[in-house]
Amino acid sequence: MSAAHDRPALTPEQVAIPPGHSWNRIPVFAGGAAVLGIVGCAILGLGNPKQFFFSWLVAFLFFLSLTLGALFFVLIQYAAQGGWGIVLRRIGETVFATIPVMALLFLPVALGLHDLYEWSHHEAVEHDALLQWKSPYLNTTFFMIRALLFFGIWSFLALVYYRGSRGQDTTGDPAVSARLRKFAGPGIIVMALTQTFASIDWIMSLTPHWYSTMFGVYFFAGSFIGFIALLSLFAVALRGAGLLESVISPEHLQDIGKLLFAFTVFWSYIAFSQFFLIWYANLPEETIWYKARMEGSWLSVSLFLMAGHFAAPFFYLMGRAVKRRNATLAVGGAWLLAMHYVDLYWQVMPTLHPAGVSPSLLDFAALLAVGGCFVAAVSWLMRKQALVPIRDPRLSESLAFENV
């Protein structure tokens, strides 16, 4: 038994992208897409800066939420000493290692503060008792300090966990797992608080009169399901590309599918609870947010979210076979990832287009720019590292994992 523990269960060659593999070219393609997106944003955005900032905010929030979901996922794995997910952990680690890149991509949001947030207008605050009352929190200086704090904390956590796990690849020191596990519990609490306040700052304060006490949870629910959807696509893509085909098994796919299913329900539960309490209490300062989303073409988006973010994936992901096959799981993951974008779009855009849905080329350009940077960063890291935490003490447990 001890001999089996000393030698790694997988060889480094088994878990690396081999030279000449087509995945080595992804950073170049993604980087090209990012440049294309940024040029598109520059050309289109000059004529319509307001639309650019809103489109960018949605795209930024979409990819940021995936990285935060990834951080949560890995922290939970450590805190619970999860065994099954070790072979998937490096995917999460690589995704959240891009949080410092996300901090750079926040710059346009910071520069577009005046276009995005009504509370940053002095003349608006002057004539508004409610905004005056909120101004000790909602003011430009404090907003920037908080943003710095969020990215500082997230980057710190991301680097500690990424470097710790990468270091263990060479040393094989089990003390690393123990140390990271000790920080995971407090890390989860810190994540919950920062994510809550970040969502209040960046999304809720778009309509500064409005508030919802469960908005932080709502943002978390979206970010977590977004990451699990990405994880399912990632796992299927790795298997499809002939990498980790014998490492990530249908058993792991089924567990990803279970999480996808569970968090479809969780998101729906939170989304409905938020709506339900506000609808029932019927207080004007709370209902205003939903009123904007229950009129005109925004109502169609709301109904589409109910059907597409809840009903359809709920029944689709219920069965066992669907979660165990590459293609069927990928369909569910891709669909929910798209729905997560629609969800964020629906949260942000009615502020800019209260009259109705008004898609813009800038939405697409911003998505291309932020997404290009994100994919380029992730795939660039993937080239330089093992795709699995190869010396983790629980790796054999994860490799042998079977659903009961």
């Binding site: 409905f272 709506f275 339900f276 609808w279 029932y280 019927n282 219920m318 066992r320 079977e402 009961v404």
Partner: protein
């Protein structure tokens, strides 16, 4: 007048009964989970259908070694859950929009968001009923007596021994040949159990 409490209990409503016969079947005792696991594979491959394995704790993967099909229980739960949700929603619709239309806190008669929590709860309740009572029905429970309890050997199933029982109404059952087969699979003891 002949009176037997046992026969009265056995005839109680909802109580399940096993087929009648001189023998219930044979029961074989194994000392380790691994021996039981491999014996199950052999019994499965020999084509037996009316048999079972008994262990003091869950042995992972035993259902594969036994060749058990997937349980139909999830379908029962799904149908019950949907029935419950429909019933919960239907009841509220009937009360609020049809039978007793009252204005409550300025909401429309058919205020569907207010009905979702009850719909959800009744759906979960029915699904849970489906899971528990469906499990009972699939396991032929309640059954007030089981012939295996007559076996002294079998008492250790809750302690430290592992058992395979093959029922006499299995088409491949033969009291001596089946017992011989179980012995050859490594059983420490084999016993013929009466009905």
């Amino acid at each position: 007048m002949a009176f037997s409490l046992g026969s009265l209990v056995a005839k109680a409503p909802f109580a399940n009964q096993l087929p009648q016969g001189p023998y219930y079947g044979v029961v074989a005792e194994f000392t380790t989970a691994a021996e039981l696991y491999h014996a199950c594979e052999k019994v499965r491959d020999a084509g037996f259908t009316k048999w079972d394995a008994h262990t003091p704790f869950p042995v992972h993967g035993l259902e594969k070694a036994m060749g058990l099909p997937r349980s139909p229980l999830p379908w029962i739960v799904l149908v019950m859950g949907l029935t419950g949700a429909a019933a919960g929603f239907g009841l509220q619709w009937w009360v609020h929009a049809s039978a007793y239309p009252l204005v409550i806190s300025g909401k429309p008669f058919f205020a569907w968001p207010a009905m979702i929590p009850i719909t959800f709860e009744v759906g979960v309740l029915f699904a849970a009923f489906g899971a528990v009572f469906g499990m009972f029905a699939l396991n032929r429970l309640p059954m007030h007596h089981h012939p295996l309890f007559q076996s002294k050997l079998f008492e250790r199933v809750t302690d430290d021994r592992f058992f395979i029982s093959i029922e006499s109404w299995d088409p491949r059952f033969d009291s001596s040949a089946t017992a011989q087969m179980l012995k050859s699979l490594g059983a420490a003891n084999v016993e013929l159990v009466e009905s």
